[in-house]
């Protein structure tokens, strides 16, 4: 029942969103509660098994999924509140996208069977488009187009992987995939799914859509896109392509390298941006690099323990924090000191300053990486690099801070949802950690480990300001822009299909005249008489011969 409520309520709001007037208003009012409804199955721990639906939907929240559920419920509800007050323009389309993506996300979180997950994933991917193009500006269309192209590119990989899984196990119960006997022999699907979901996560070089799409959406939409929806990709990895329990030692370093590269590249590229939301989007890319690192580490945990915890914490922390930061973009954070503080805290948290939730997450991430290093599967340098990623994050947060402070329009109200979300970002991960037994005792060594990268970042900032060199500026979406130019040059106009003249008619005319002449000739009695004689002679001969 709780599951049903969680699934149906977003659909109901979506339905209301298609109407206008009072029903639509009701739908908008319900939107925060629709997302909060995800807490119900979380509390009830209900397992639903709807065999009648689609190919059989199994829904429920496993313990390790809890942070994702919490993230979705909290971030989405508060963002919905924010959106209720701020979104203008074609609200129908927006709320349709909003409700449907929520529905999809809820399914992704709840999914315990293959089809259920895929259903949710597709819904969330497509519905997000509606939010991205909300502005209806040229830039929005372009971002939407690029988003769709890449989403479907990812979709191609995902559907291939899903079909491979389905081919082997049917609409398999996802929990089974993480068990050794199932996990074997699925290299093909795992590779496909890794790539497919990587698009959603914005792993370099599949990230190009993200800096375009996330910022262009309205503020609350950006918040959930960057904070929550990217986690759908992560859930995809974890649920469909679990690497725990298999011998992935060979691949793990590569994944790790890719993750670190994304972490640094995302941050560095973000530094070249001039818009706050874009910078935040690049930050998301960077953070997802860390997620990939944790995912790589998962390969060394037979039960997934440490890495899974790290991932849960990372997701929860980043989701709430990033959502809070995005909401800040809609509240003129530079307008007052209080607002600046409200921005600074999550920013520091993201940079993993001690005592923040980011610190907590980073600590577990380091532990996960350590496991790999201890096993000798990962190079030692990994640890350092993970630590250094905080420096990169700090730098990009610095950049964000600078840009945020330019927004000082006091007329823009401070929306309570922002404040609440910031608060949630700072506290909720701790609560969950406490509840799940993941609390980290504060220690000097731990604090130092968290602090030196920040100090390094500070040093770099100071150095940069000292040199006074203007920063490099790259267009949003970096490589995609060049790709577009390339494509524009080669696109050929579609050739119009030529209309064929009715040649058959003319041919028939000619043939007709020819045959008419022939017939006329044959009608001549001498000719037909001759023919008759000939036939007779031939017959005589063949009868004679035979």
């Amino acid at each position: 029942m709780t599951v049903a409520v969680a699934v149906v309520l977003p659909l109901f709001t979506a339905l209301l969103a298609t109407r206008s007037g009072r029903p639509a208003a009701l739908g908008r009012r319900l939107a925060p509660f629709a997302s909060a409804a995800l807490l119900l199955p979380l509390l009830s721990r209900e397992q639903a098994d709807w065999q009648w639906a689609l190919l059989g939907l199994q829904l429920g929240i496993e313990p390790w999924v809890t942070p994702y559920a919490v993230l979705t419920a909290v971030a989405w509800s508060l963002a919905a509140w924010f959106a209720f007050d701020t979104v203008t323009g074609d609200t129908r389309r927006f709320w349709l996208g909003w409700s449907f993506s929520l529905w999809g996300m809820v399914l992704v979180v709840l999914a315990q069977s293959l089809a259920a997950f895929y259903l949710g994933y597709v819904a969330v991917s497509l519905a997000a488009y509606l939010m991205i193009v909300h502005a209806s500006s040229d830039a929005a269309w372009r971002a939407g187009r690029i988003y769709l192209v890449l989403a479907f590119a990812g979709e191609a990989a995902i559907v291939s992987g899903v079909l491979v899984l389905a081919g082997f196990y049917g609409n398999v119960e996802l929990a089974l995939l993480a068990t050794p006997e199932f996990a074997a022999g699925l290299e093909a699907s795992r590779a496909l799914l890794l790539v497919g979901f990587a698009v959603k996560l914005g792993i370099v070089p599949l990230h190009v859509w993200l800096p375009l799409a996330h910022p262009i959406a309205p503020v609350p939409a950006s918040a959930i896109l960057s904070g929550v929806i990217v986690k759908a990709g992560l859930l995809g990895w974890l649920k469909l392509a679990p690497v725990q329990g298999i011998d992935a030692a060979a691949a793990a370093p590569w994944l790790l390298a890719l993750g670190l590269m994304t972490a640094f590249a995302g941050a560095l590229l973000g530094l070249t941006q001039a818009k706050l939301k874009t910078v935040l989007a690049y930050s998301t890319i960077s953070q997802m690099g860390l997620v990939l690192v944790a995912y790589a580490a998962l390969a060394f945990a037979a039960d997934g323990g440490v890495a899974l915890a790290a991932l849960g914490l990372l997701a929860l922390h980043h989701g709430l924090t990033k959502a809070a930061l995005f909401l800040a973009c809609g509240c003129a954070p530079g307008a007052s000191r209080a607002r600046s503080l409200l921005l600074a805290l999550p920013a520091l948290s993201l940079a993993a300053a001690p005592l923040t939730t980011g610190y907590l997450a980073k600590t577990w991430l380091k532990r996960a990486v350590d496991t790999g290093i201890e096993l000798g599967a990962l190079p030692d340098v990994a640890y350092t690099l993970v630590a250094l990623s905080s420096t990169a994050t700090a730098l990009i947060m610095w950049r964000a801070w600078r840009l945020a402070m330019l927004q000082r329009d006091e007329a823009t109200a401070l929306h309570p949802a922002w404040a609440l979300l910031t608060l949630a970002a700072l506290t909720v991960p701790w609560v969950w950690a406490a509840q799940a037994g993941l609390l980290v005792a504060p220690s000097v060594s731990g604090s130092w480990a968290a602090t030196w990268p920040l100090l390094l970042a500070l040093a770099l900032v100071v150095a940069a300001r000292a040199t006074g060199r203007p920063g490099l500026r790259l267009p949003e979406g970096d490589v995609v822009v060049w790709a577009e130019r390339l494509a524009a040059g080669t696109r050929a106009p579609a050739a119009p299909s030529a209309v064929r003249a009715p040649r058959t008619a003319r041919f028939r005319g000619r043939l007709g005249r020819f045959l008419a002449a022939a017939e006329s000739g044959m009608r001549e009695l001498p000719v037909v008489g001759l023919a008759m004689l000939l036939v007779g002679v031939v017959l005589w001969f063949v009868l004679w011969l035979g």
Partner: protein, 502 residues
């Protein structure tokens, strides 16, 4: 598995179900042009009665009996009408969609001329389709298959325009050419193995034949006959041209009757005549799979290049219908289910789109893709139905198309033919590439100040145009969402395949 001849019970119902629409068609033709009200009543009544009869048959079949009616067409060669579960799958699709299409057609043609002829042949067309569905052997199938050709031709050329007549000619060139080969294959088969009824698992499996080459040739001949109607590349060229026909005809052609009959024929050929294992042993399944795959990709690519909405839909059909062939060619339980169920799923999805396309053209004069901008503001319901169907075509869950794709892909993997997944994915992407822009145009672009044309008929007519599309769109959703429930198309297809693949 050794196929076993099924127990049948003599029952006139299969014949009756075929004849209902025949008599309706004849009566409509006899009534003449001006008995509009009576014609409408007759049309709808026949459709409803037919649907009821098909349901009755379905109930019988569920009860485990196989009603059959047979008589000797040529001594030694029986005309067999038999309702097994495969028949019911196709028949119920046809009957249901006929009802819907009839409603639509009555609205669509509310001012057209020659309606008596149109609806007469329309009904006969459904007769043929029912016959195809109920055919119990290849000869019967052929008979109704040809009847279908004949009955649809007047529908294709209905408008009598030059383009229509030319399209009709193309249609005939292809279908009659194909059926000539079909007939040769049929004769050959009968010469080789004697007359045989359809048997799940393949009637030929019961005959011990050591004639590899001949069997291959027969298969190819018959498959070409089927393939023409199923629009397998390169036998598809008639289909886009036939788009000049009125929208209900296109809808019927693509979703219920012609194209589907071809695909259904391939199912029968592979599963009930040759049997999946023999087909595979002869190397024919692989060939068919390749042909279907090429069709799927090619159709999609060409669809991408279209400017005309109906043309685009036509090429989309070319692509989509081959899913069915692909499914049975890939073989194995899952893929076969996928192919079977796509028979129904493609039907409801594509008919929705044609309904909508016709509605757009009638009400707003919109026929080209670039005219779709902002259309959802004027016709939100139709646009919605169209969008749902299009998304289903792409294969997005929880819509019907997804279920098909799921089973096809999974089946391909299960039988170790991973490349088929590639084909499916490519098709998905291409489908998305040509359908999503349409949806985006309709919903996201601003509407033009003036629409290209169109008429403003009465509310009842508008309802008649929109409601059928909504219904089928609803089916598209329901068949997907409720795929796992009993008596869903998927469930039915699974039951069928249980007879084919142990």
């Amino acid at each position: 598995m050794t196929p076993v001849a099924i127990e049948t019970t003599l029952h006139p119902l299969p014949l009756v179900v075929v004849l209902v629409s025949l008599f309706a068609g004849l009566a409509i033709a006899v009534l003449g042009e001006h008995q509009q009200r009576l014609r409408t009543v007759l049309n709808l009544a026949a459709a409803v009665v037919k649907l009821a009869l098909v349901l009755w048959i379905a109930i019988l079949v569920v009860g485990g009996s196989v009603p059959e009616f047979r008589f000797a067409l040529v001594p030694g060669f029986d005309l067999v009408l038999r309702a097994d579960s495969v028949s019911v799958l196709f028949a119920s699709l046809s009957a249901a969609l006929w009802l819907v299409t009839t409603v639509y057609a009555i609205a669509y043609l509310h001012r057209s001329s020659n309606r008596a002829r149109f609806f007469g042949f329309f009904s006969i067309c459904v007769t043929a389709t029912m016959g195809i569905a109920m055919a119990g052997n290849l000869l019967t199938f052929f008979v109704f298959y040809e009847l279908l050709t004949l009955a649809t031709w007047p529908l294709v050329v209905h408008t009598g325009s030059r383009a229509a007549v030319r399209a009709g000619r193309t249609y005939l060139v292809y279908t009659l050419g194909g059926s000539a080969l079909f007939l040769l294959g049929l004769i050959w088969l009968y010469a080789l193995a004697g007359p045989q009824d359809f048997i799940a698992g393949g009637s030929l499996a019961l005959v011990d034949l050591d004639e590899t080459r001949a069997l291959q040739a027969i298969f190819v001949l018959v498959a070409i006959g089927m393939g023409v109607k199923a629009a397998i590349v390169p036998l598809h060229a008639w289909l886009p041209r036939a788009m000049v026909a009125p929208a209900p005809v296109s809808a019927l052609l693509h979703a219920v009757a012609v194209v589907k009959a071809g695909a259904f024929g391939l199912v029968r050929l592979v599963e009930d005549v040759f049997g999946a294992s023999l087909t595979s042993d002869l190397g024919l399944a692989q060939a068919l799979a390749v042909a279907a795959s090429i069709t799927i990709v090619y159709g999609s690519i060409v669809a991408l290049l279209q400017d005309d909405l109906k043309k685009l839909l036509a090429y989309s059909t070319v692509s989509q219908v081959s899913y069915i062939a692909l499914g049975i060619a890939v073989g194995g339980a899952l893929a076969t289910v996928g192919g079977m169920v796509h028979l129904v799923h493609q039907g409801v999805m594509k008919i929705t789109m044609f309904f909508c396309a016709g509605t757009f053209a009638t009400l707003l004069g919109v026929t080209r893709i670039d005219q779709l901008d902002g259309l959802a503001r004027r016709l939100p319901w139709s646009a919605g139905a169209f969008s749902v169907a299009a998304l289903g075509m792409i294969g997005l869950p929880p819509l019907a198309g997804f279920v098909s794709k799921w089973y096809l892909g999974a089946g391909a993997v299960a039988t170790g033919q991973l490349w088929v997944v590639g084909v499916l994915v490519a098709s998905t992407l291409l489908n998305a590439a040509y359908f999503l822009p349409l949806i985006a145009r309709m919903w996201l672009r601003p509407a033009p100040e003036r629409w290209p044309g169109g008429t403003t008929p009465s509310r009842l007519v508008v309802f008649g145009l929109v409601a059928p599309a909504l219904f089928t769109a609803f089916c598209t959703i329901a068949f997907g969402v409720l795929a796992g429930s009993s008596y869903s198309p998927l469930d039915w297809a699974t039951e069928i395949v249980r007879g084919y693949v142990p």
